[in-house]
Structure formats: C-alpha cells, structure tokens
Symmetry: C2
Subunit: 471 residues, 2 copies
C-alpha cells in the first residue's frame, strides 16, 4: 500500500504534550489537550510533560520529552514561546517526527523577537528532519484516529462521527466553528488541520495530502494568506480536478489584511486577485464559514442540478415575493410556468384566491403537496425544487399538527420525485419560533435533506456550485 | 383635540365579523379573527355574522350585519368573494365606516372576474362613504386598542406591548413575521396595517396617518407596488422629514414582479427606479424584513453614531479577521489604532501572543474588558463600538461561567462608556449553541442592547442609517 507523505500526522501511536500543569486550580491549555484526547477516545499512548514532574489524571508527568520511556511520534507544545527552542532540541534527540505548536507569540506579534524565534524553531526542526504544524494553532482533528483539538472541559466535544469533508484552516476558532456548524447540518469530517502561522507545513502540503486521501471526498479551506503562490496554484489546480475544493480566503479588505497580519502574520492580498486565482484553478470561492458549509452541504448530499432553473414551493404571500427576489438576485432562475401547468396546479389545490402559481408556487395544504411536487418535478424547465418553510411568516397555520404533517409529506416525497430538493427553514428571533424550527430541523436532517437558513444562502450556494469552472 | 382622518380605524367601539362558522370542527378564518380579538383583550363589542345564525363562544351569530342591534363601526369580512357585494350593501345600510376584507379572490387572481368584483365592491363602498382595507389582507394590529390579526388558536398571539414603530404592509404574512421578529429583538409597535390589494385605502393614506400619529416615532413599510406615484412621493418626503422611514420594496426582479402580480396584483417596477425614488425622498431602502428590523432597531435604541468609524472588540482569531472583512464590505471603517493605544491595550491585557490589537481588538478576559472599553471609547477616531460574541467560535472558553461574566461586564459598561455600543451575537446550528445564544440574548435584551446576528447585518444597517439623505 502506497503511504501518503503526511499520513503519519494523522495516525500517531504516541503523543507527548508539553506544558501540562498538575495544578488543577490553574487554566492549562496543555491539560485541556490531554483531557480532550482522553475524552475523545484516542487509543495511543499519551505522555504529559512539564518541568515540575508529578502526576495528572493518573498519568506520570515527565520533566522533559527526553525522559519519556517509549517512542514519541507526535508532540503538542503548549509551553510559553521562549522555551520552545529547547523543546525542539529535546524532540530532535528523541526522534520525534512532528511537533504541533499551540504556543503563540511568534511572527504574528508586533515585535521582531517573535519572528526571530519562529525562524529559530523552524531551522532547528529542519536540521533534524522534523515537521512543524503552526505555531499558533489548534493542530489536528481526525475522528477516525481519535485526534481532537483542546476544548474546555465544560464544553461538548467535537463530533466522533467521520465524514467526507477534509478541511484546513489558519484559524483554530474557525476550525472549531466550521466543524460544529457542519455537523449540526449533517456534514462530517475526514481530517481537519488548524495550522496557524504555517511556518513549515503549509496550505499546499495539506491540500496535496487531502487530494490523495481516499477518506476525503470534498476539500475546504480557510486561508489568510499563502506561503508559496506558484506551488499553491499548481496543487490547487490538481486538487480541483479531482474533488470539489471550496476556499474561504479572508483578510481581503484593508482592515481584514491588518487583522490577518496580527492573527497569523499572513500577507493577505486583494479580493480581485484572489477571485481570478481561485476561478482559474477551478476552486469555489466563498466569503464566510457559513457560506463554506452551505456549498459543502450541496456536494455532500449530491445535490447536482443540471442548471440553475428552480421551482420554489412555499406558503405564499410576501414570503414568496421575497423568495423570488432573493433567488433572482443570487443568480437562480425561477422559470415562469406554462399556463397549462398553472391551471393544473390550481385544479389540484382547488384554491386560487390569494395564491401564487406562477413560480413561486403556493401550497399550504400538505395533502395536495405530493401532486404539486410530482407535477412540477416532471417539467423539463425545472432543474431543482426549493421547499420554503416560513412557518412563522404565515399567521393562520403556525401550529404543530400542520407543521408535522407538512414535514412528513416532504420527507415521504424525497425519494419519489426525480429532481433534487433543498429546504429553506428559518425562524425569527423569538424563543418559540427557534424551538419550532429546531424540531423541524431534526426531522429533516435525519431524512437527509440539505437545509438552508435563507433563500439568499441556498441560492448563492447553488449558484457557486454550478459556476465552478470546468477543469 | 385635532383628530387624524383615519383615527377611527384604530379605535372602533364595535366590530362585526362576517363569516364566523359555529361548526368548531371546521377551519373558519372568521372564527380565528373572533377568537384572536377576544384573546387579545379587545374591549369593544364583537358581533359574529353568518347566514346560519346560531351561537359561538357565548355570542349570538347574526344572520347579517343589518340584524345587529347596536352600532357597528368596523367590519371584518371573512366570507367568500362572490358574497362580498351583498355584505357591502348591508354595511352601507347599517352606517358602517370601514370594512377590512380578509377575503381574497379579487384582482390578484388570474381571472378577469376577480378584478371586476374588486371594482364592484369599491364602487359600492365609495357611493356610500365607506372605506375599504384590502381586500386580501390581515387588517389592523394595534395593541393599544386591542386590535389584532387572526391567528391560529394554537399559536402564541402577537405581543400586547406597544412601542414606537408604525408599519404598513401589503403582505399579512410579512406583517406577522415583522411583528414577531421585531418583538423578539425588543422593538414594539404603535400600529400595523396589512392592506393587501390596496383597492381603496393605500400606502399613501397609511403613511400620511403614521406621519401625524403621535404614538409613532419610526415608520416602516413592506410594499409590492404603489397606486399613485406622485402622491406617494409627496407623502413620503413629508414623512421622512419628520420621522425615520424604512421601506422594503419587494418584487423588483422579474420573478418577484410576477409573484407580486399574483399576490396583490401590484405593478412592481424595477430596482434601479425604486432606489433613486426612495433616496430622493429621504427614506431608507432595505431588502428584507430582517434588514428592516435591523435598521429600525438602531433608531429605536437611539444608536446614532456621528460617523461610520467603528471599533470591534471580540475574541479574536479567524472570527476577528472575518469581522474586519464583513464590516469593510458593508461600508464601515475600522480605523487602525495609533501605536501608543495598541501598546496601552497590550499593557492592559498583558497578552500579546496570538492576539489582535490593531482593530479588531481581541479581549477574552472579562476582567480586562472595562479598561479596554474605556480606552477605546475615548478615542476621537471611534464613533461606535461593536462587541463581538462568537462564543461558539472560540474552543477554549466556551463555558457558562466565562460567558456569564463576560455578559455581566458588558452590561455594566453600557452606561459608563460615552459611545454607542451594539452587540453581534450568533450561534451555529447545533441545539447546544442555539441554547447558549438564547440565554445570552435574553440578558442583553433586558439591558437594552441592540443585538445583531452577524457583522454583515449590523454593518449594513448602520451604513444604511448613516446614509439617509438629509431632508
């Protein structure tokens, strides 16, 4: 079996964590890594390290990496920056393959000493054939092998379920956010790499790995900058030729650029340049983590309409007017239905007053919905169906029995109609509305529906997916 | 005391509802109106009307309006369209002042008979000095006098609390949605008019009324079209000269235009034309109900920054980079802070590694927040402060005690610092995250904060508010 070059990063047999305090009254990121790995079910050996020695959670704390008795594959650094050069020397002596630096305070700070220190640990690592992830990052999340970020003990951990999405990100916060948001919408991950300042291993390395990783079917990334433009272009083009690649490149405005410099020391570059660059490479550009998840969701559910002609079925009125405007603005087309079809739809619903049949199509009788869906889905001019559920916009039918019957009908029809279906489900800001929407969401998620929180989001994601350059 | 021309619409002493079925097994919109008015606490007389006679909820059902013993100020029609001409004749004979037609099936349907019927009831009403609201609408919501829309019995009613916002809307669904969304964000209403096809009383009438209504401090509207352009221009200019006026004009795309025609028979017109029209009149244009509430929220909380220079204080990392990008794209400026101030902020937090101080400013220690806020708020180059609470983006501190202390600190500082403050609070789609955000929301709402669900929304609303043409 051919092994991918960076495979060892995702499957270490033993991990040392430098900077694990045994003082339980003190906040210790190193101990958070330890607790998180144990809680997440990591099956390899874990070695806490701290000059103080002692014990924590029944494990011996070793005074240095060199004192650890067994082999050490991977080291997580959660010690103060000034002590990192010594840690790298200790790791070199121990034969460690890779170090992830949660430790921050390097090139991202406004002080030349930070950049110098980063150069020093990099050169020490290179001299000794070790790879660095970071510094200033959360490292690796890989549910298949039990690797996870450090999370606060009180917090719900990251999902244990694996899935097709490979994600690499310069931001640890955005990594955690993306994982949680995607999971809540039914999308899970093969591997996630939070790699911060990218001093050694960078975006091109991770992208290349995920391109060849058989567990990864869709690739996404949060970038603040790129270390080696020409290499990234080449790697990106190769990746996009094999798998969908969705990129959120942040820091493209003046304020954003300034923020990236202080965050990961990245040189950001302008929006215009990035747009051309990503389009030419065949990648899909998005502008937020939410948008990234929106697009990935379509790929993960195999929603692949032939074109951007949609039929919108909803509950009518102003909500349908706004739906039509939002779809059009985001680049979808709602073809006007032929008068014969409009007549048929009216015959099915037996309603004409106050209802729209020209697309959007109003249908607030769930018992009529199957016929409406079949009639619309068979039309050649329709590529996909968007179900609109503005339960809180419609004052007369906002009740539990109606909503449940409506949802059951849609779920029943999902595998019957021959066109892809997506669902728009939103709530207003009241607790009651949020609760209703949450219940509906659970049922639709279980049935495998791609759910979007607004027409704008869904339409934009579909348009982005369809606009992917042929490669 | 000078009485406003349409004042009687909002303070009827008696209401007849035509189309109230006594058959409780059948859906009856007329009965929903009846139940909703009683439940909402309307104190005047209510007379159910139906040819069947009988009783409902302890009230006599009269076979026609003419059979009602007392005076009838206002009539709600929930009968089928073909019977409405006779209802109008009965109302004329009874001396009724105004009829609201919930009844649909008039000019909005694809059938010339609908338009003819609408013309007939309008001409009957005019001959007899009566005014019409609608047809095809929900009518009036006025918590001060106990008027409300028909809502399904199982549903939570609309808020009983009054407030400064006057709203008129061609869509009943969007009216209910706007009321609920605004209330959930702490904004309440003086009067809401859902007026559907606008056959008689139209947008200009309601706008004129709200301009002079002392209970209305802010005016907002959902429009699909305008009946009399020149009059509306004049009325709008006069309104915007006295109060903030926020307009969501829908149906500006081709699909949207088609939808408005089937919804309220409105002639929609293009986006470009409406933009110029509204700007010249001094109104603020928005593109969704959510956006409308965003802008109104700023006015209702007296958030009136001198300019669009904002300081963003958040929890850092990728979330701050995205915040900077989003603010810039929506037209806000995040001025770079002078190096002396950056130094001061670093001294306060005693943190430099991995943190941003160039604006956005990272501060995840709530005990340092008061000093940070004071330092930033005193700067001349800062017009307002945006607090970012991406609690679910930040893996290490996503815990209850931290969040509560952070919120308490912000609430404490609200009246101390001399610049307006808005809050960005969002959750990802998981139930756990939604629950945390909901708890935070309640506390911040009670403290009077304007809360936005994203930087884009907040920045756009602020930019729109500031861009209001001088009048």
């Amino acid at each position: 079996v051919h092994k991918l070059p960076l495979e060892y990063l995702f499957n270490p047999k033993s991990i040392a964590i430098a900077g694990v305090s045994d003082d339980l009254t003190k906040h210790s990121p190193g101990r958070s890594f330890l607790e998180s790995l144990i809680d997440f079910g990591y099956q390899g050996k874990i070695y806490p390290v701290s000059p103080s020695g002692s014990e924590v959670m029944g494990l011996t704390i070793y005074p240095s990496v060199q004192h650890i008795p067994g082999r050490v594959d991977y080291v997580i650094s959660a010690i103060p920056a000034p002590h990192t050069p010594q840690l790298v020397r200790d790791c070199a002596a121990k034969g460690v393959k890779a170090i992830q630096f949660f430790t921050a305070g390097f090139s991202e700070i406004e002080n030349k000493a930070g950049g110098k220190l980063e150069a020093e640990i990099l050169s020490l690592a290179r001299e000794n054939g070790m790879r660095i992830i970071g510094p200033n990052c959360m490292g690796i999340y890989c549910p298949g092998t039990g690797l996870t970020f450090a999370l606060h003990v009180n917090e719900q951990g990251l999902p244990r379920q694996s899935g097709p999405l490979g994600f690499f990100s310069q931001s640890g916060g955005n990594s955690a956010y993306c994982i949680k948001e995607a999971a809540a919408r039914g999308v899970y991950f093969s591997k996630v790499i939070s790699y911060g300042n990218a001093s050694d291993l960078n975006e091109s390395d991770f992208l290349e790995y995920l391109t060849h990783d058989p567990e990864t079917g869709i690739i996404a990334a949060y970038l603040e900058g790129v270390k080696d433009g020409p290499r990234f272009r080449k790697v990106l083009k190769a990746a996009a030729g094999q798998k969908p690649v969705v990129i959120y490149k942040a820091g493209n405005t003046e304020s954003g650029t300034r923020a990236t410099a202080s965050h990961t020391s990245a040189m950001a570059g302008s929006d215009r340049i990035w747009e051309g660059f990503l389009r030419q490479a065949g990648a899909i550009q998005v502008y937020s983590i939410e948008e990234l998840v929106d697009v990935v969701l379509l790929f993960s559910r195999d929603v692949s309409p032939k074109g951007c002609n949609a039929a919108v079925i909803g509950m009518g009125g102003g909500a349908s007017v706004q739906a039509a405007d939002d779809c059009s603005k985001a680049g979808l087309i709602l073809p006007s239905l032929p008068s014969g079809i409009r007549r048929k739809l009216k015959d099915i619903t037996q309603i004409e007053a106050g209802a729209i049949f020209s697309n959007p199509i109003d249908c607030w009788q769930y018992e009529k919905l199957p016929n409406i869906l079949k009639t619309v889905a068979q039309l050649d001019e329709i590529d996909l169906i968007i179900m609109h559920m503005p339960f809180d916009c419609w004052p007369l039918i906002d009740n539990r029995i109606f909503i449940e019957s409506y949802i059951d009908t849609i779920i029943h029809m999902k595998d019957i109609i021959p066109k892809p279906m997506v669902v728009i489900l939103h709530s207003h800001s009241s607790q009651a509305s949020i609760k209703i929407a949450a219940g509906v969401r659970v049922k639709l998620l279980e049935a495998g529906f791609p759910i979007f929180s607004s027409f704008s989001n869904a339409a934009r994601a579909i348009h982005r997916m369809l606009g992917r350059a042929a490669v």
